[in-house]
Subunit: 145 residues, 2 copies
């Protein structure tokens, strides 16, 4: 069982355990956010789902993304232009590196993100529940043009 299929199962179980119903539409949405490597927008998710469920509505996608955010199983990235992308693949904190031209997003790992969070908790007296590390730049491909 690959890590993606794993993520799907984990999220479904968490939904079921917290008393939420597992509808076909919901499963399809979870599958997409749990397996997409390209950080899709709500519109992207909507388009992909319509292949299998042509009658699904945008509102349903929004409602489910909201639900998944509320249980902490998808991360939301906001671009400088205001558009949002979603990432449901990882629970461990990681960096996003975003090309401001072509909007390609690459993940990067950093070993000591947890340490930083702990230090911030001590310094500021906030109880940290989430974090978002984003770098904006221009990818190698766009640099050529």
């Amino acid at each position: 069982m690959g890590p993606d299929k794993d993520r799907f199962q984990v999220i479904i179980k968490k939904l079921r355990d917290s008393g939420h119903r597992i509808t076909p539409q919901r499963m399809a949405i979870v599958k997409i956010v749990a397996t997409s490597e390209d950080h899709p927008s709500v519109e992207n998710i909507y388009d992909r789902i319509k292949k299998d469920y042509p009658t699904v509505s945008l509102a349903t996608v929004y409602k489910n993304i909201l639900l998944l955010k509320s249980i902490g199983e998808v991360a939301e990235l906001t671009f400088p232009d205001g558009s949002n992308r979603y990432d449901g693949r990882k629970t461990t904190p990681h960096l996003h590196v975003i090309c401001v031209r072509c909007k390609k997003i690459v993940d990067a790992d950093m070993d000591n993100l947890d340490e930083i969070a702990k230090k911030i908790e001590v310094d500021t007296d906030y109880k940290i529940i989430d974090q978002r590390f984003e770098f904006f730049g221009i990818c190698r491909n766009c640099m050529k043009n």
Copy 2:
């Protein structure tokens, strides 16, 4: 001359040098983003400006924030709920620590943010031009309630 007044002058000079006109409305907007310690929203800025310039329009605030963003003199923070706040006080990268209940924002410094950016550049082959480090949590005051 305090650092806030300094920031105001720096931004005004940069605007002038790049051929932009210095209108009273623009000065008022720059003054607010350069000196506000509480990371105001566009609405906040609008409300504060109306004390001195009752006829100023929201559109003008938006246009000027857009301009200040485009020349890199204000940073935009986006909340999990989608609302935006602005910070024109610092140019050096720093962390924002945000209370998700009362929305209070605290700044935190971290010595090696530049090093991290350099490492990311090498690892990903992106030319990094901006970065955003945000921690979401609950502040001590909200924790009591």
